[in-house]
């Protein structure tokens, strides 16, 4: 995704008047300002850049009322899981929590989307700019919208931009994000989900791969044996990016910054921290996330005093799926192969407590197999 020149970001395609649905809505009806003032400086007084955030009711919601009904609960708007997770790790001290809230407002709350920031412009968090001269895009373009935010992990994994790693087989089949992540999932269904993996209409591999457990299916034995024991990613993901220790603060000019210590490629199978009816598997792929006990130290010390309540190796669904991988080359490529599993020795001492429920004890590593399915 190339950068846009400042004027390109706000250039409106005159074809917008031919849009049968939106062409008759005058600019000021959504954005405000004074459409009759010839001086652009005074004409922009009161202009709202994104009239769809935080409330889309008077802009898109006027016609798209069904979508707007659930808008506030869409995870792309509410960011509820972020807030809940930080909340769970946070100290119970009210003064500390208030300072933490200020820090989160500065560093976390800007990372949201809106109707406009998917269907009209690039998201604000990547400096915005119209997608196509303010022409409304029914399906948001993948690289300018989805992977503009979900870039360093999802985009690079999916497109195979990491050296030595192949793109996802789904990318090779020319599938865009919306093939699996539908509009209904993005818009929300009115439920206040605590985690993105709880979303009911989120993607499931078996939505498309319906046949894998059928008698006549290829590899049916392998799929049936592992059903409910290992997630699809355990067998079909390639190594993926992991990050550590993000610290946030403000520089001498008062501008917000973040620093992550390191990132590395790894593939780790661990115990499922989010076991549910939807995700019953015992083994899942885990990714180290960039959080640290001292992430918010610039603002307030000991903000995350309950750090150990959640793992730093988190359930992951890497987007670099392949039919054949190193670990599924044979049974014993995985069984008995300690290096694939998250063991106690792989976890830093100060994070052992947080990860105690996802570390695989030696006795749970599947034993080497003598028998191999044909």
């Amino acid at each position: 995704m190339g950068p846009l020149a400042p004027h390109e970001k706000i250039f409106v395609d005159s074809d917008i008047v031919d849009d049968e649905n939106h062409g008759e809505i005058a600019c000021h009806e959504c954005h405000g300002g004074n459409p009759d003032d010839p001086n652009w400086k005074t004409a922009h007084k009161g202009v709202v850049k994104d009239p769809t955030y935080p409330d889309a009711t008077t802009a898109c919601g006027d016609c798209h009322d069904e979508i707007n009904e659930n808008y506030q609960k869409s995870l792309h708007v509410s960011l509820r899981p972020y807030k809940l997770i930080i909340d769970e790790r946070a100290s119970s001290n009210t003064v500390i929590r208030n300072k933490l809230g200020c820090a989160m407002n500065t560093h976390c709350s800007g990372c949201h989307s809106s109707c406009g920031q998917c269907h009209i412009s690039r998201p604000n968090s990547v400096e915005g700019g119209f997608l196509d001269g303010h022409l409304f895009q029914k399906k948001p373009p993948m690289q300018e919208v989805c992977t503009a935010c979900h870039g360093s992990r999802i985009q690079k994994e999916y497109l195979g931009e990491h050296e030595g790693l192949l793109p996802s087989i789904h990318m090779k089949k020319y599938m865009k994000c919306d093939k699996c992540h539908t509009g209904e999932e993005m818009h929300g269904n009115g439920k206040d989900y605590a985690h993105r993996y709880d979303v009911e209409n989120g993607p499931k591999c078996v939505d498309c791969h319906k046949e894998i457990y059928k008698r006549e299916a290829k590899n049916v034995i392998t799929h049936r044996i592992h059903k409910g024991k290992a997630s699809c990613h355990v067998c079909h993901s390639q190594p993926y990016n992991n990050c550590s220790t993000c610290h946030v603060g403000k520089d001498k000019q008062g501008l917000a910054f973040f620093k992550t210590k390191s990132s590395w490629f790894d593939f780790k199978i661990g115990l499922n921290p989010l076991k549910s009816e939807k995700r019953p598997e015992k083994f899942v792929t885990l990714r180290h996330i960039p959080v640290d006990k001292r992430t918010f130290d610039f603002y307030v010390k000991d903000a995350l005093s309950n750090f150990d309540t959640l793992p730093t190796w988190k359930l992951a669904t890497p987007h670099n799926i392949r039919l054949k991988t190193t670990q599924n080359a044979s049974c014993n490529a995985c069984h008995g192969n300690e290096s694939l599993f998250l063991l106690e020795k792989d976890v830093e001492d100060n994070e052992k407590g947080a990860n105690k429920n996802v570390i695989v004890p030696a006795n749970l590593i599947p034993r080497k197999q003598k028998w191999q399915p044909k």
Partner: protein
Amino acid sequence: MKYFRVIGLAVAFCLAIFLSNTFICQAYEDTQCFQCHTSAKKLIEATREIAKTRPDLKSAETEGEG
């Protein structure tokens, strides 16, 4: 006679719809917003002027992957 009256009414109705749309579009296109935001030249001038007065809002201290 009745037949001509119906046709006349239909033609008048279509004309009314067409003209009202044309006027709406014209009114829309005549606004200052539309005039300026569809002109690359005007936008380049305006954004250059803005750039002179607005400092960089990104911290140089950001490091690592987001």
